[in-house]
Subunit: 427 residues, 2 copies
């Protein structure tokens, strides 16, 4: 029976039982963290052998003869370009390989657009108003970058097929101050949705009012499947944009943070020839080069994209039970109660939960009181403000499956209690 259909008395009685269970749960002194999309130590163990592929007797020459130990190749070694291109589903000439962290590449692109403009356009700092579209719920670190540069962020609702493209077209094609959109197109953060082919094609076919409009295509979970058999696929945005006559409109990002090591991966950008040429020009001013030995280490370890795919299945083996433990609890405890909906992703690092309006903060708070840390409510929206106070991001990667079951049990208990309190306000 849906909670909203229950009488005040029934709800009060139920709440009494749930409160007792909450008090009991609290007394257990849990200390669990579902807040961050961070692999567990056990999961990181699957990559340890990467540290064996290079040693003092290794030949550290890249395939073009470059000594990876020395200066040079600001855009990365050829074989690392190829590996990252294959991973992203594009071709090496579109790719620059960086150091650890794709976030800093994204920051750089925004920063450069702000200070110097893109392909000859006016630097954003000189404009009265710069806006970015932000599909929501989304990734807080994206929003932090645009907020840092005083860029106005506009919420775009997400659907299972990607952002609301009617709204995206409306803004992009008519408002010259709209300069970008943040996208996590595959296994989106936090919902785990993958943009449909139609969505990608509509993106590629945008007719931006601003000629320096860019799609910030953060393909963070491009190979991060949970299942061997059920895998999402996504069209290559670079070639779609080319075909649609908009080659320069997209910056694509990816990294091996959740493939090899978050603390020691390699990251890459993919873009059109003109964009790449401009970025390389900037890079020669900005750095003497990224870590080429680590690039080589990655190539020698994975060998090719098939190696990455096989490796990702070892990650999936660790991740899947955690997702399943969480989803099982949500399903068995909340189905039919009308107090929440959630995504059931086939990849990525998160489950997105939508509570009744006005309940997310209270649920997160209540979980925290009993020792279970969730991502702050609101974090999945620009400025940390979820207008409905409804979305909660669940990150199952760090705890063990058993801990995820415990944490989820507590979570659904808190969802129930807070929802009853909310419903009671109107009875």
């Amino acid at each position: 029976m849906q909670y909203c259909e229950m009488s005040k008395e029934e709800l009060l009685k139920l709440k009494e039982e749930l409160d007792a269970r909450y008090t009991e749960a609290k007394s257990k002194g849990l200390k669990l963290d579902m807040s961050r999309g961070k692999p567990s130590a056990k999961q990181l163990n699957v990559t340890m052998e990467m540290l064996d592929v290079l040693n003092s007797s290794s030949d550290l020459k890249a395939e073009d003869g470059t000594d990876c130990r020395n200066y040079g190749l600001v855009d990365g070694i050829p074989e690392a370009k190829k590996l990252m291109a294959d991973m992203m589903g594009t071709t090496p000439e579109h790719v620059i390989v960086y150091g650890n962290a794709s976030l800093s590449i994204m920051y750089d692109q925004v920063s450069r657009a702000y200070t110097h403009g893109l392909l000859g356009s006016t630097p954003w700092v000189k404009l009265d108003k710069v806006k970015f579209l932000c599909p929501v719920p989304g990734y807080d670190r994206h929003f932090a970058i645009t907020e840092r540069f005083g860029i106005e962020m506009i919420n775009i609702p997400m659907t299972e097929n990607g952002p609301d493209m009617d709204m995206v077209e409306q803004y992009v094609n008519n408002d010259e101050s709209v300069k970008g959109i943040w996208c996590v197109p595959k296994y989106s953060n936090p919902q785990g949705y993958t943009y449909s082919d139609e969505t990608v094609k509509r993106f590629a076919a945008l007719k931006p009012a601003a000629k320096d409009f860019r799609i910030f295509w953060d393909n963070a979970y491009v190979v991060h499947h949970l299942y061997e058999d059920k895998q999402d696929e996504i069209l290559d945005i670079i070639s779609e944009c080319e075909k649609a006559g908009n080659p320069d409109m997209v910056f694509e990002f990816a990294s091996t943070s959740k493939v090899s090591f978050p603390g020691s991966g390699i990251a890459a950008l993919a873009a059109s020839a003109d964009n790449i040429a401009e970025i390389k020009k900037q890079l020669t001013i900005q750095t003497i080069g990224h870590d080429k030995i680590n690039q080589l280490r990655h190539v020698r370890f994975f060998k090719n994209v098939e190696g990455i795919r096989a490796h990702m299945m070892r990650h999936a083996e660790q991740m899947r039970p955690k997702f399943e433990a969480t989803l099982e609890v949500l399903e068995s405890e909340l189905t039919g109660l009308g107090i929440g909906t959630w995504s059931e992703p086939r990849g990525g690092y998160f489950i997105s939960f939508d509570a009744l309006e006005g309940c997310a903060k209270a649920i997160v708070e209540k979980c925290k009181e009993a020792g279970v840390t969730l991502t702050n409510a609101g974090a999945t929206f620009p400025y940390g403000k979820d207008p409905k106070d409804s979305n909660i991001r669940i990150a199952p990667s760090f705890p063990t499956p058993e801990e995820m079951k415990q944490a989820s049990d507590l979570f659904v208990l808190c969802v129930k209690i807070v929802s009853i309190e909310k419903i009671l306000e109107t009875k």
Copy 2:
């Protein structure tokens, strides 16, 4: 006998001999590169064992328990902070450890000052005029960063004790638009001069008209001695600025690019507590962290600063013969001719040569024609413009000592011919 005291006839006769020797040299088809401060492959071999210190059985926990494989510690692992602090002569609480390339840290500091201002000051982009002082000759990549941000660069003559401090004080203490100065305080690029204690103290005691004036103290060659016995020392600018009541006035930079591997080192910034706090705030927006496994690799390999010092002597063994081969040729061939002066550094990567006014470009060109590449004349000055067309940077690190002798032989030959041509113009 000095060339300028020779008669026209004597000079013409001499030139004829030298031209013949040049033609002969040219026919040898030399292909030597003295243009870049780049270690040779043989020199890089001394660091190969660094690749053995971490493998799949290693404990990858930092001393504070941080799993270096995972996210976290945007400012670096504690033991890497300590190592880099000891190398720079400061203390770990002043230090942030980054990835490969200190140049990108410098770029970041300028970029952040430009877009967001420093410690509450007006962002430089909002000012009509921003100026940097540039001790000359200096490092072209410094100048490229400031040029990129439209910052006006002012030449400050170098002396053997550092920049002309009367001039520095005059500018910094009176002109609010002077926001920075580029310094390579130890074994300067290209002269190899080390700032005297008095110079450092005068720097620390500056009374800048601009409260956001910063000394960009690129301590690139802090441990890069050529000799075991003859070593320059430099005062710690961080504590000197503290003592002088100017704690926030300096950003210090260093890296292991020429200690471990240029293609895979670690870099660091040192600054006051307030500066560090502000930079860390920015870093949490800009990156998920730098490569902590490589930081750990460096610490486990070098162990401590004594390990670095011992390692640098292995580099010195390779570098010294190349410097000595070059200096011997300069000395035996050019002493007393009055057509050039040069520095005799005890460390660093360069020898600086000052030709007769108006001769540098022609000398570099003439060397190139015969197969010896030098750094472009002018590169050691802002905007690539040496007002006297006199300075030439010699980088002896990449060729072998024998090749450096060959290259230097050709170099002095070209110096002689071009100088005679110059002197003849006035006879």
